[in-house]
């Protein structure tokens, strides 16, 4: 339209303008095309990683070992999830903490404490606090579900590194997103699409923590790392390791499974 108008109004300059315009359209189309192709792939990858341990619904048993300078303890937990918004974690061992449950519904976290038979909500001001004494924060539970909304991811490396073919995904926070990390780099094996390392940086670009994934197992059609180790950078002697004993996907869960009532009932 614009080109037509300009051609009819001024024949003298129309040829050169038309040429420039065509070149511009071509470049735009080209870049759009290439970025769309890339975007689909990265979205798929991110979604794959996101749903790896989750499926539509899931039921897992896992052991979390926390090692700090002062103590070392391990907890056995049972966890259920539906989609990215609902999850319930129940502590089985040790006896002292047995029955303590954490319910996550969208952006809210509640803890059920069987000893005193009370449900407490974790306020937003405590989100950066430690979850169950581990090196994970409450925020890690929440932000996991909004990672795609808060970060822009792109494949920054594709090919062989240290003898294996990998994808390197770099995620940078969006302008107005309230996030903890300044940059997250995730390394994924190309053939299995299983992640093996995630590195977290703060806003100044300083390395804050490293998460490594290993002991992969093929469950259904996906390859899942059964062990996650979290290593905070400022405390080299400390770590949190989560090992999945079992994980089952697409199980039937009642509608009110992820509710405060069921949180209280499940002793």
């Amino acid at each position: 339209m614009l080109a037509e108008y300009q051609m009819s109004s001024n024949l003298a300059t129309s040829v050169s303008i038309y040429r420039t315009f065509c070149r511009f359209v071509f470049i735009v189309c080209l870049s759009l095309l290439s970025s769309t192709a890339n975007a689909i792939e990265i979205d798929e990858l991110i979604r794959h990683i996101d749903e790896l341990w989750r499926g539509n619904t899931s039921h897992a048993t896992m052991t979390m070992s926390v090692k700090t300078q002062r103590y070392q303890r391990s907890m056995t937990m049972e966890a259920w999830s539906r989609g990215k918004d609902y999850s319930l974690v129940l502590i089985r061992e040790p006896i002292k903490d047995r029955g303590i449950a954490t319910l996550k519904v969208v952006e809210n976290i509640w803890n059920y404490l069987p000893k005193i038979n009370r449900v407490t909500k974790v306020p937003s001001s405590m989100m950066s606090g430690s979850w169950m004494g581990s090196h994970f924060t409450n925020d890690d539970l929440i932000k996991e579900s909004s990672f795609q909304d808060d970060y822009t991811s792109s494949i920054t490396f594709e090919g062989e590194r240290n003898g294996r073919d990998i994808y390197e995904i770099t995620s940078l926070p969006k302008m107005d997103a309230a996030v903890v990390w300044g940059k997250v780099v995730m390394l994924i094996e190309q053939d299995t699409l299983a992640p093996y390392k995630a590195v977290y940086y703060d806003e100044e670009g300083l390395l804050m923590r490293t998460m490594t994934f290993d002991q992969t197992q093929k469950i259904g059609d996906r390859t899942i790392p059964m062990r996650m180790s979290l290593q905070p950078e400022d405390k080299p002697d400390e770590s949190t390791v989560i090992v999945y004993q079992s994980i089952v996907f697409d199980i039937a869960l009642e509608d009110d499974f992820f509710s405060l009532q069921s949180l209280r009932q499940r002793r």
Binding site: Y71, I116, K121, S125, G129
Partner: protein
Amino acid sequence: MSALHALAVFNRLPILLFMAWRNIWRNPVRSALTISALAGGLVMVILYSTLLEGMTRQMVKFATEISTGHIQVQRQAFIDDQDLYATLPWSYLQTLEQQFPNIHITPRLYSAALASAENTSTGVLIKAVDAQREAAVTQMLSHVRRGELNLAVAETLDDGLIRYNVVIGAQLAKNMNLEPGSELVLVTQAADGSIGNALYRIAAILKPLEPSFDRMGVLMSIEAYQQLMYLQDGFHELSIKLDDATSLEDVQAALDTKLKLIMTSQSLDALGGVPVVRNWRQITPAIADMLELSKTMNFIIGFIVVGLASMGMLNTMLMAIHERRHEFGVLLAVGMKRRWLLLMVLFESFFLALVSAFVGSFIGIIFAAYFEDHGIDFSASMPDGYDWAGMVFEPVMKGYLEPAHVVNACVLMIFVTLFASLIPSWRIARLKPVEVM
């Protein structure tokens, strides 16, 4: 010759003083104006220093008596980042109490926690105290707004669960909608890594004392803390009150030496760091700096006020002397020595200053005494007091009349006045009798 000369001055001193005194009252209106200017300045200086001294004393009182104490002992890691594990063993407290029978010592423990009530939850800071020892060191426990102070067991539930009483800050109570008698749930990470959780009963709500406690403080007994946190073997902080605050530095040094000695026999783990003994000035440097600043400010402002008053004095004296040039000329002509004339004018200024000092300090003391008794009451607009330099002040700003300040102000004024009158006196010394007559 010089002895005779000196004698001559002394012989003439009474007559000079007499003349100076009479000269002042020859023109009572002029003198009264000068005196009122000087006395007014003095009243201002006295009132100003009374209020400032009152505030200073209130600050020191709040800085030490409310919750800090004169001296605190903590381990380095606790000072740095409130490390839960940076405790000192209970045996340290016993040893210190035996070694220092004349000071009051109270142990404290701290921890961050999540407090939940009916519909709200928020992050809080638990402070555990020994109620009896605490009362001997600070007034923290006596500032109850509502309820009754009680940190004992509230009740034992059917299944053997114990509910302890706790005391919370006023702002926290307001934010969480809590009243004395309400139930509070505390969830925290205990020292062994487990999830510490327990039920509590709010026994009382404290008046605002320090902004951080007011917003997020939960006060409990040491037994309650130990049951929640599984942290039995030590305390985080010792707060110490001295009966005689002037021996602060000495006691601090003695405590430091003693602690180093105890450390050699009962060693501490490396992670928590060494015990550090700090006085309240080091703990709350903002307040200590403020006190230093206010002392300097008092002097500077006093100097400015007196300086302005003496400008008036200088003006009056210059005018008076200009008016009396004729008279001085006559005196010189009949043979009065110039230096005696100069001395006489200086005496006049001195008398003026002296009268002003009496009048000024009299009025000043009356006003100051009023401020000391009644203070300036802001409680209508600020019922909870005001928050300054990290402390909450009472809404009534009370003065404190320090006699030394009145004397200082008077001496300062007399000196400045005499200095100011040197200029007109200097002009008299150069007077030519023939010209002025």
